[in-house]
Symmetry: D2
Subunit: 378 residues, 4 copies
């Protein structure tokens, strides 16, 4: 599967193409729109989200809702379009790079003095495309009983205490949560924290936890380093704007625990086949899926754009001053889960296609079922 | 640059090919051997390391020590070779998968009952090839004033307190350190911890911190999600066996700090050009290098193989028992740094070639110098 | 540079994304539309071309006509849209596969009984996207003084006798030619041939010759087999629907000539640097460009869809009958040149980026000029 | 499947790694050696072939002759090794580039004055690695009943008249043929031609025809242009040194025939399923295999190095003179078949893995059989 996305933050359109997606799957546009809505909502989001109501338009790859096996192209129009391909816009140049953005390094990379020409693509608005693609992949994964859900595990200093047992619980508990949190008590504190920070014109980061359930054992590979599933998930997730860390299972906690208490012993029963009683590994060992839920945590830094801007330097005059004030969110951790789920869905779908082919959904399922049967009967 | 590695843990040979490496660089075999030695040493390593004395043999891509621009092939012979391509070995089948290894999931993936056919490639001995390739890339990077060094930041529960200011300090302070640690006081405690754990036939994990210095601004790209430098470094590092987490700059700490105190304001002086006084971002913003040192932490789980083996199940009989006892290390955190450095060197070299071409070293340097000049004069 | 195209023959939209295209180039939509017009015109084209008037819509990657370095997404709407993503069409199933199309093998590949689900993407309408992408690459190449032109060298049994000396001649001579031919006398015969064949409800193939001029020496590489420029051009060109053969320089004629009379001796003059007096090699030796014009011939089979359909078999009933009659052209050789030029432009642009980087047009040109200088002074 | 090859013509070793090859296949070293022998033999080969007796050494990826699923590394030592990685050779610089070689363009590309640093990798000795990899892939393909054979269809002006009906005939008829020819009468003339040309210190090219039999319908894809099987085969074949043209089925002859007589009508019988009575398409339609034999012709230019050297220019002094005289063959067309077969085997194996997965041979066969069953029952 190959994916390309395109589109500027205030350009005409966000576009994505998925190439190598199987034929024969019913694809619901409405589900993609739901996911786009999840991405846009959540307490702490800024003004832009009240302007846009992102809606996907699938313009190829489908006939009567069913995938043709041909590339799937999806468009999401920007309502707040301000830069155009063929007609002159009248936007003033931005020459004060904002700290913690791509602004300065991007300006150097491209010998650019108008930071707008950098930020339009480095902006996280690009993740709209990822959510579109992810929503297509999630529909695919549902045919293999794979479900994915993420939640806000930490928002600023407030940490969720409740622990989910599975994806269903996460989905049930986060329903109607303004912060995509599973812990009602902690959520109240988180909301207060956001209000405090909004008043201070400051911003907040946090931690999101994602669960991927139903992945059969053996996806990914240890045969070559760049095929390891955890490495590929790590790239997918760290490539999300603001993400500065990723952990699988115990992650950094592993450092403090001895092997005897941190590894997951192996058991067997007729009903379950091989299984583990614990899942400290987070569902991946030796670079391949174990069959247990894949559990990942990612850390997001606070939103870079601040109401009280930080020190900056003018690109043209080199004079000292303050970063430009672009409209922004206070906290996007609640939206981060859906983007992280999307990236996971893409990576797992790729791993499925590698092992079982990708021409025709029914064919892939036949191959997958034959494999599952052998897994049980080893 | 394309890289393929090959070789089993007890096979005849570890092989790697680097394709797309520039012409015209003096390549020192001796430096590769030094790096292999660094990988093999350190307190806590097991018996295998006293058998092998890894030495590289470069069999293509060079003439009189100078790269030809053609693929570079490198061999490292296994002294402890036990499995062979064309002649029958007499190794007994292993049917007790070891927890925390690829053994069980690998056996399921490949419908395999002899775990040896899995572990020979999933073994971390494969990282010998990565160190070879990394050592070639480090020599390339030195032409661009890029240096890389890693150290043991945490070993089990013992954390290094000392903080380095740059790569030179890390190199100086870890010299002659048995644990690749920069903090002598803490190192003593770490050594005690290893002894304790060795007695208990248990194992330890830890945290390694890697610094990459001298990277010009603008490597990597935010133009497409899979080109972001942090994502690519994350994949490179998480693909190392045992690594379960990765952080850039403040990493997970970011979650607790507000934007106003965690972002790095921008300054300018004639002498330094644009710069930051702090480096919380760890040298990457918006998916591209900022010009500040890239600082990464990785978490390693404890060695899976334990002297007192964990519960397992026989693949053939399904009877309950204990994992097979393969010879193993107690702690490899001290060696992890050189592998992590190698993976970073590979990823940064790729980013250099993307921006400046890869045909001829002198040509790349010309292109790079022209770029640096513009960076300063923006 | 990565390219994805999407879109069905009678779907809503043809879409393409170019990722990895440099920043800082003025991109003229009007030129793309001209190229689309060239593709659609020519004697022998069928009814579809009178319905469509393909016009590109660039929806990302540009600001005020200038490339941003971000992915460029382009749309071309189908006027004759008949299959839709979310609403039911009422097209009758096609169960008679047409010989010489992907119909039968495609139906087997996808276990499909309605051939429309195959032909919608296997149709040559997909080449609209390639022409869009090619037109972008041609604009890039013009900055490196590279020009490309193709012409109808043979149409059915009628062969052009005139030989061009360069791209300018081809462009001048084919202007206003209804068959994109450089030989007025032969063109008359070709036109007669088309009329004859149209009456007979039959179809015609032919040969197109493409010249690429101004390519500096040393693009492509012999360092690995899949980097050879001729191999890559061969793939690009044979991937065009109907193309069944490709030749570089003398091509198949080489077989009959001895080395002493077929190879191009090397000369030098102060004014020209190194040069050849002949160009039998077609501008590529050892997998890299020589600096002489690249000259390629491609053979196209006759249009598969015939007014008097060939034998076929019903996919459902297995009864013998005739292939379904889809609207089609008689001869597309005149349009083939623009598609072939497009594929060449894409492949050469990729080779440029490989050698000189791809971030910023001005930077690439600086690197390229430094290289040209050295080429002269070797 | 990823493949990297390495090695200079007179370096220490030719190396190749195949990554992504399935587990569970018996791999016979002896078959690889047979193929290497076929490559080295044939009337018209020069002195080098009497020095080398290429023998493969498989150093990874196998245990007891069976593939492990891990990368397969293969070495072939050069007996005539003259350039070394770490020790100084004493070869005089070559500054007279040979026409029709990569010498001149390579020297410009790499700003090089000693042509030896170019020709060592541009030399066709590199095809030893391709034959090794191809021989591995052929063994894989035999499990899918796919066989491949090529023969000399034309040598200089002498054309083979006999036409084979299938791969078995080609194999039987070329056995013991000194020129890999299927037409004994014509072969005599070819041998005379070689003698004549050898006396004249000149060289010869020719045409090779390759048949690939047993390919199931539906390999490759028309869903994206770069997945078309004919395009990929074209790249594979044109990437072979000396190859200047490629044709599928009727190839350039198509231009002269109308559609009604050149396309292959479709038939059906219970015993054969869908089939064609003719195979003008050469087994590929719409970019995918039809199930009929794939038939390809490639044209090779005469060997560039001539006993009576052509005009050249000294790279250092720019004085006019003659090309340097490197030891060379008169005609390699007889050996070309085995290289072409190898490249086809690689490309077809890749297409198999794409459609059916690549983890485990038995699993791939299960998936393939399920597909074949559906193909018959459509």
């Amino acid at each position: 599967m190959r994916i390309l996305t395109a589109g500027e933050s205030h350009g005409e359109c966000l576009v994505s193409i998925i190439e190598g997606f199987p034929k024969g799957m019913v694809l619901e546009e409405s589900f993609i729109n739901q996911e786009l809505k999840r991405r846009a909502s959540g307490k702490g989001r800024g003004a832009r989200m009240s302007i846009e109501s992102d809606t996907v338009e699938i313009v190829s790859g489908l006939r009567n809702k069913i995938t043709l096996g041909s590339p799937i192209a999806m468009l999401v129009r920007n309502k707040d379009a301000r830069i155009f391909s063929q007609s002159k816009d009248n936007l003033a140049p931005l020459s004060w790079p904002r700290p913690a953005h791509a602004d300065l390094a991007g300006a150097l990379k491209y010998n650019e003095r108008d930071v707008r020409n950098i930020l339009e693509r480095s902006s996280a608005r690009e993740t709209v495309s990822r959510v579109c693609v992810g929503a297509v992949c999630k529909q695919l994964l549902s045919h293999f009983n794979i479900t994915i859900a993420g939640f806000t595990a930490k928002l600023g200093p407030v940490e969720s205490v409740k622990k989910p047992a599975n994806v269903s619980e996460i989905k049930a508990w986060t329903k109607n949560s303004p912060l995509n949190c599973i812990d009602k008590a902690k959520e109240k504190l988180m909301l207060k924290e956001i209000e405090k920070v909004q008043k201070a014109k400051d911003s907040l980061g946090g931690v999101v936890e994602v669960w991927i359930e139903g992945v059969c054992p053996g996806l990914g590979s240890f045969m070559h380093f760049d095929k390891r599933l955890d490495g590929r998930l790590a790239q997918s997730l760290v490539s999300i704007p603001s993400v500065k860390g990723v952990e699988f299972g115990l992650g950094f906690e592993y450092a403090e625990k001895r092997g005897s208490v941190s590894h997951d012993p192996i058991y067997y029963s007729k009903a379950r086949g091989f299984y583990h009683k614990s899942n400290n590994s987070g569902g991946i060992e030796g670079g391949i899926s174990t069959g247990e839920p894949i559990i990942i945590k990612i850390a997001a830094k606070p939103i870079p754009t601040l109401g009280v801007p930080l020190d900056s330097v003018n690109l043209l005059t080199k004079e000292k001053g303050k970063a430009v004030l672009e409209r922004a969110d206070t906290c996007v951790v609640s939206s981060l889960a859906v983007i992280a789920e999307s990236m996971c869905a893409i990576t797992i779908a790729e791993a499925i296609f590698e092992k079982f082919g990708y021409d025709l959904l029914s064919e892939i399922k036949t191959n997958w079922r034959a494999y599952l049967k052998k897994c049980g009967s080893i």
